[in-house]
């Protein structure tokens, strides 16, 4: 059977469609509640997707995250609190619009440009991923080694604000990946005689801890509670949107393109894409003085960017098994659990599964319009749900979810330790994304490093002898050299 027809058959089943609808509602709910992020939505979904076949499992994650990134705009506009970090870049702008009585513009532009950006990111994913997979089929361990190294480098030097702390985070992640039997000598490393540790630190409870428990702890330590920016009923949120599309086509395209590219960079996700796009929008705007006063232009560009980043992040995740952001890092864990191991062979062996993922992406974007509109309509009720009730319920869900992965309390212990560590990392300015990347890619790095060295008989020059490996290695080293030169220059400027 034609793989595209087979893919439609895989997606358009009552069970899968119901999963998509429910996860869309779940994503909208999680995104709309300040403190519950899109990554947390993914982490909370994993214990449930664990019991699903591969396609509905991936569909649940894709749909929930797309919805959550959009609905993060709702509390931004109404409470001046971003529902997810991806909305933080234009929170002030959206809230000021609401205070000026233009909540419909703030929420409508968030919704419409999220959909358009999301469709753009999906289109790039559909075109780029199979083409890249063709090339990746020829990759050897040398190319994979450098891809992983380039991913680490991007996460530390490009995505982060403090490369030194990013480096520490990454190395801690690699240290976690070292635990267990999975190494070239199959020797139990740092297991301390504990049978649970021989399989390594379980990824899903670790993610639930780092993204959900840390958030519950942060909520518990917070004192201030937000106040709604408007009490008036909303009008038509789609009014004037066509005018905005005609007025800001360049901003829409630029935001979508930058968002997709940033999303594809390992370690950098929707939040960084939104910040960069907002900055770019202001820089190239004809009315930069209006930014920060309730101007919609920045929302158009960065709203498109954060949703397009989602599609972008899936490109390296599906083709190389290298996550583009924290969400795809969790998704990769799910793909492995489902025996749908990411990599170029997935495109050859099971193309119907890949096409099914693409269809789900498009469906999620299209569903966003009616469901997003619905979410805006009930936004005020959603935002009145008391966090002090919700958070303990999420906590119990996390506990049972972590237990469910292997049916042992070991998962719960990993979850709570990871949650405490992530809480303090965030507090002390250490980014969490590089740690996740280190944990997810540590084994892959070691495997490719080891087999490359054995193939090359210990000769390091062999790492640069194949053209693509040489280019990837050169790019990695260039970023390191650029950072070292910049640090040296800024030190001289300070002392000079």
């Amino acid at each position: 059977m034609d793989p595209i027809v087979a893919a439609f058959g895989l997606v358009f089943q009552p069970y899968v469609l119901l999963v998509i609808l429910l996860s869309a509602l779940f994503g909208l709910f999680v995104g709309a509640i300040p403190g519950l992020t899109a990554t947390m939505a993914t982490a909370l979904l994993v214990p449930v997707t664990f019991f699903m076949p591969p396609i509905p499992a991936v569909a649940a994650i894709v749909t929930a995250t797309a919805m959550a990134i959009f609905s993060g705009d709702i509390p931004s506009a109404l409470l001046r609190m971003p529902g997810t970090p991806a909305s933080a870049a234009y929170t002030d702008e959206a809230y000021l619009l609401t205070r000026q009585g233009k909540a419909e513009i703030a929420l409508g532009s968030g919704l419409v440009f999220s959909v358009l950006g999301g469709v753009f990111g999906t289109a790039v994913l559909i075109v780029a991923a199979p083409a890249l997979a063709e090339i990746a089929l020829k990759f050897s361990s040398f190319e994979y080694f450098w891809l992983v190294m380039l991913g680490f480098t991007c996460a530390v030097f490009i995505a982060g604000t403090d490369p030194l702390k990013g480096c520490v985070s990454l190395l801690l992640g690699l240290l976690v990946s070292i635990v267990g039997l999975e190494n070239p000598a199959a020797f139990p490393r740092y297991t301390f005689g504990n049978a649970d540790l021989t399989g390594g630190i379980p990824l899903i409870p670790l993610m639930i801890g780092m993204f959900a428990i840390s958030e519950v702890l942060r909520y518990a330590t917070r004192v201030e509670r937000p106040v709604l920016g408007t009490d008036k009923p909303f009008g038509n949120v789609f009014a004037g949107m066509w005018g905005l599309i005609r007025r800001y086509p360049v901003q829409l395209l630029r935001g979508s393109a930058l968002g997709t590219a940033v999303g594809a960079l390992p370690g950098a996700g929707a939040d960084i894409a939104a910040w960069m796009s907002y900055g770019l929008s202001k820089k190239f705007s004809k009315e930069p003085e209006k930014f920060g006063t309730g101007h919609v232009e920045g929302i158009v560009e960065s709203g498109a960017a954060n949703n397009s980043a989602l599609g972008g992040a899936w490109i390296p995740a599906l083709v190389f098994g290298i996550p583009g952001d924290s969400i795809t890092a969790i998704a990769i864990g799910v793909l492995y659990l489902k025996n749908m191991n990411p990599g170029p062979t997935l495109f050859v062996d099971n193309p119907q599964n890949i096409y099914a993922v693409f269809i789900v992406f498009l469906l999620a974007q299209l569903l966003m319009l009616p469901l997003g509109w619905l979410a805006i309509k009930v936004a005020k009720q959603l935002l009145r749900i008391p966090g002090e009730i919700l958070m303990p319920i999420i906590l119990l869900f996390c506990i049972v979810g972590s237990f469910a992965i292997n049916n042992t309390l070991f998962g719960v212990i990993v979850m709570v330790v990871a949650g405490i560590v992530a809480f303090f990392m965030e507090r002390w300015g250490f980014p969490v994304a590089p740690t996740i990347l280190g944990v997810v890619l540590g084994t892959m790095l070691e495997e490719h490093f080891f087999s490359s060295l054995v193939k090359a008989d210990g000769r390091l020059a062999a790492f640069f002898e194949r053209p693509i490996a040489g280019a990837l290695g050169g790019a990695t080293l260039l970023i390191w050299a650029w950072w070292l030169a910049r640090s040296f220059h800024s030190k001289r400027t300070v002392h000079g």
Binding site: V168, L171, A185, L217, P392, F397, W428, V494
Partner: protein
Amino acid sequence: MRTVDRAVGAAIALLAVAVFVTSRAFPDVPGQKLGASTLPGIVAAGLFVCGLLLVLRSLRASRHAGQAAGGSGPAAPGAGERIAPAFGILASILLYVAASDAVGYLIVAPACLLVALRALQVGWGRAIGWSIVAALAVHLAFYKLLKVPLPWGVVPVLY
């Protein structure tokens, strides 16, 4: 943050030394000069350098800022923070880990929820009500629908 960076940097450097020393005992792959100790060795070296750089950077920042300004304290709760509820949340998780197997989900989970809800200052009546309802809903979802073997403990198997 400078004081925190200094303490964290020193702790990371110490951790790196421990990793390096312990990893020396890991075996090589037969016939190779590499093995289970290669990656831990590289990670330990990287962590050691980063730890030292963190300490040096925070010392230099302190010197530039002048001692009068001082370093900001290590993670003292600020005006917009309260610390006790976080301990309540952690206590709730530890209660589940310690007691769920022996006592059973249906008793421990509502107790955990009650601890967490009270830690977040929910009134007794609402806290008790929500604890029972939410714990039963989660049990139904995971035990009945997803077939997760949540422990019954001292409670007889009901369904």
